[in-house]
Assembly symmetry: C2
């Protein structure tokens, strides 16, 4: 049964489609948006359109940016010989929070997952190989999540990097196995970066 | 520190401003929106603008509608002599779910709350009084939340309705005191409607 006007039902459905938002939360959010002044609702709608239009992937590291090359890749203080490979843009934020790593990143935008039909061509592995082939890279640090899919992705990429004669390391298991990189605390992440092992 | 492009930070802030959404959830939601196809993100943005543009208050009962008068107020099968007064549009949905009430509604859009500077002029009390004065109303059922603010609102409105010589009732305390109408189960709500007492 639908008691709400179509436009409201539609907005509720849009919120309910977001990850972790149930039907009841979606209703609350939709009512909240309706209770806001016109300009506030418009700013929200514009923020979605703007972000979608202006934010894209860095040509070098594939992290999200609104320029052609992101600020980390452009920075002269960053060691370009080090590439830290992560699954998601939010993982860059997690490692940057530790303030200890000073190399560059490569964002895969996913992890290999045969169960979910995510193969090597669905994530940004090719871009990493091109980058390693064309630049003077000393070390690739595999910082994918310490779960099955992250491990598989790290192993797979490490194997592909063998011919390039580059040092490939993996985050040390300071990070709790089976959890999510995003929720690791700064100290644990720092220790994991320090204790990385060759693979 | 801001690692994300401005447009993305802005979208994260917009999500974080929603009730019950923290910074980390807001990041996840923003990343999710960015990961969607252009058309999906545009549909989300349009849903907000459309809902805000098309949804407004019913001229009679103040419930949300995309027409001048809502479907409940237009229905000929509804008993127009009964008005059930609720705080929020979602409370209408809660009572409708019980499928037992067959009167009309009046949505106050809030409850009296001196702490939060919500006075009688900030909610739709005047519209209710006009409605009772100009129509043949037999009974007004106060179905505001059974918390301090809802009780105060019910008492205040009951006092204002005295001169109109209309029966004013209150939902029976089948509903657990101090909780929220939205979360009451159907059976409890039905019993509360059946056992309403004159005030």
């Amino acid at each position: 049964m639908s008691f709400f006007p179509t436009a409201l039902e539609n907005l509720i459905d849009q919120f309910a489609a977001l990850p972790g938002i149930g039907k009841k939360s979606a209703q609350r959010l939709a009512f909240y948006v309706l209770s806001q002044p016109d300009e506030a609702a418009q700013r929200f709608a514009d923020a979605i359109t703007d972000a979608k239009r202006n934010v894209h992937c860095c040509r070098v590291c594939q992290n999200l940016t609104d320029e052609e090359v992101c600020s980390i890749c452009r920075s002269e203080r960053r060691e370009k010989g080090q590439i830290c490979v992560v699954s998601e843009p939010r993982d860059v934020l997690s490692i940057e929070r530790g303030r200890e790593y000073n190399g560059t990143y490569h964002v895969l935008h996913g992890a290999l997952s045969p169960m979910n039909h995510v193969g090597p061509d669905d994530i940004r592995i090719k871009e990493l190989l091109v980058r390693v082939a064309e630049n003077d890279v000393e070390e690739v640090i595999m910082a994918t999540n310490p779960d099955t899919e992250g491990e598989a992705t790290a192993m797979y990429i490490a194997r592909l990097l063998k011919p390039f004669n580059v040092k490939v390391t993996r985050l040390a298991y300071g990070i709790p196995v089976g959890s999510n990189l995003e929720f690791a605390d700064d100290a644990t992440l720092n220790r994991a970066i320090e204790g990385r092992t060759e693979m």
